[in-house]
């Protein structure tokens, strides 16, 4: 049973710490947002934000190209 009591202490300490930490984070971020708002000019948003993705994800298949061509051709025909 002694070990169960230790586990209980762990539970309380652990949940307490993770909650405190994330609450503090919430508080800091709420503050920081206000502050940072004045400094947005330092790092302006880029127009079309490109997100680094998995390298293999950009991989396109010639199929895609073929579809693209098909679409393009179709549009051209109806143009």
């Amino acid at each position: 049973m002694a070990i169960l009591m230790q586990g209980l202490v762990l539970l309380m300490a652990g949940m307490g710490i993770v909650n405190l930490f994330l609450m503090l984070l919430v508080w800091v971020m709420n503050r920081a947002t206000l502050v940072v708002a004045h400094f947005n000019y330092i790092l302006p948003d880029e127009a079309p934000k490109k997100k680094p993705l998995l390298a293999t994800q950009h991989v396109i298949h010639s199929d895609d190209v073929l579809i693209a061509i098909a679409v393009a051709t179709a549009e051209a025909r109806t143009a």
Binding site: G14, N19, F21, L22, L25, T33, F39, P52, L53, L54
Partner: protein, 479 residues
């Protein structure tokens, strides 16, 4: 075609049977010739005549996998210990497989287990990027005499390596023993994660905190189990903590902590963690529906505000500094995530780095980490009631985490001014982005126009931070 095969088989079987049978062949002459090596460079293998070689060929049958699977004994390096190339002495262990079954049979059973893992990974698509390498690593490591995960043979006197170890041994020592691989995976995770939804709505971080309750529920459960069944299950605080961290639903965090606290459970815990992450769409919905009434499931949340680049760049630094001030033991994990995320958010000037972290680097490390973790699926460590316990406790961890998140969601829904749909609480267990998708799906079932995905990403990514924090705390308190 059949004929040729049959005739060849017949001929060769004849030849080999003859050899195996040790029948005195007609050619007796060479026996009289003294077989002293004929030149200086003669290696020991040349000494002896052709009979020696035939003896060796015959001896091959003792080294087949078939012979291994019916053998009783574990590999020598396990039972008798060994010296590592750096001179450390690893002591031998008493290796005992469940039910006292022969070691070889245990290995055969583990191969069946690994094939099941591969089935789940390939056919059921359970986190295939990790479970396929883990399963394959386990497969290789359990093949008798293949020594794929064996340490090198070291001459105890001269300290030279006389036979190199298996490649899984090197992968493990290089990346898992040092803790480097999980850290590198976390860099990639950071470079792939968008913390925007959390920055836009910081209070959802509390859901990510509440969902960590699963970790501690499983921890207590593990201690309870070993109190209830002291003769079958032996989980101390270290083991219980490692099992609990399954509920963090973050593979790298689980591997990192388990390697440090309870390395003998690494195989089972990694398998449980990734399996349940894949099962999130099955585990979570019933709990969510049970805990959140239909009415609250329909709550629509306000559209999220725009998050500026400056905020996104500052966020990783803020989290890291907070962590440094309060919880240094979580710094390696949180630091790695935040490094990756910082590179991601800084944009084009460092996109080479961010793309590499989220691309080739994480892929390469994933392959080696999966195989190395799989190499710890040894029968004496996996085939026992404790593994069953770990599987049960892992389920408890995920369920309680989901419940914790949902309950905190309902509490926030009541207290907060802005509407909060409690369903996003379940996303706090991380398992990014699966859990967030589940929140979205369950929400859509109640109201087909209510898209919760982006709102659920907040607790989802804060769950990653939350379980890294818990891992640091558990490490400090239990090491």
């Amino acid at each position: 075609m059949k004929k040729i095969i049959l005739s060849c088989v017949a001929t060769l079987t004849l030849v080999l049977t003859h050899a195996f049978a040790g029948a005195p062949t007609p050619v007796q002459a060479p026996a009289a010739v003294p077989t002293v090596a004929t030149h200086a460079a003669a290696t020991p293998s040349e000494a002896g005549d052709w009979r020696t070689m035939i003896k060796r060929v015959k001896a091959l049958k003792d080294d087949t996998g078939i012979a291994g699977f019916i053998s009783k004994n574990p590999p020598k390096y396990l039972s008798e210990g060994y010296m590592t190339p750096t001179g450390a002495m690893v002591p031998g262990q008493k290796v005992k497989v469940i039910g006292g079954i022969p070691y070889g049979l245990g290995q055969a059973l583990m191969i069946a287990v690994c094939l099941t893992l591969l089935y789940l990974a390939i056919v059921k698509e359970f986190e295939p990027l990790l479970l396929l390498p883990i399963g394959f690593g386990g497969l290789l490591a359990n093949m008798p005499f293949a020594n794929v995960a064996a340490p090198p043979l070291v001459d105890v006197v001269t300290r030279t390596v006389t036979e190199p170890g298996g490649f899984l041994y090197y992968f493990f020592e290089f990346g898992i023993s040092t803790g480097v691989f999980p850290i590198m995976i976390f860099m990639g995770v950071g470079a792939m994660t968008d913390f925007g939804p959390l920055i836009a709505n910081p209070r959802t971080a509390l859901l990510g905190a509440a969902a960590q309750f699963g970790i501690f529920a499983a921890l207590l459960g593990a201690l309870g189990m070993s109190t209830l069944f002291p003769e079958h299950i032996h989980f101390g605080l270290k083991e219980a903590s490692s099992i609990g961290i399954i509920g963090g639903a973050d593979g790298p965090t689980a591997i990192w902590l388990t390697t440090k606290l309870a390395p003998h459970l690494l195989g089972a815990i990694a398998v449980a963690a990734y399996s349940y992450m894949a099962l999130v769409p099955i585990i979570q919905p019933p709990i969510m529906k049970w805990l959140v009434p239909e009415r609250e499931r329909k709550i629509k949340m306000k559209q999220m505000r725009h998050v500026s680049k400056m905020e996104k760049v500052c966020f990783p630094l803020i989290v890291l500094l907070l962590c440094a001030l309060l919880l240094p033991s979580s710094v390696p994990l949180i630091g790695a995530v935040m490094l990756g995320n910082l590179c991601r958010e800084v944009g084009p000037s460092v996109s080479r780095i961010a793309d590499t972290m989220a691309g080739p680097l994480i892929n390469i490390v994933t392959i080696m980490l999966g195989l190395a973790v799989g190499s710890k699926l040894a029968c004496e460590k996996f085939l026992n009631p404790e593994t069953l316990g770990i599987l049960v406790l892992g389920l408890i961890a995920f369920s309680c985490g989901t419940a914790g998140g949902c309950i905190m969601g309902r509490l926030m829904s009541k207290v907060c001014k802005d509407p909060v749909n409690p369903l996003i609480g379940s996303a706090g267990v991380s398992a990014v982005p699966m859990a967030a998708r589940v929140s979205n799906k369950v929400g859509l079932e109640s109201d087909p126009t209510n898209y919760l995905l982006m709102h659920a990403m907040g607790p989802n990514v804060s769950g990653v931070i939350g379980s890294a924090v818990v891992a640091g705390v558990l490490y400090t308190l239990c090491k």
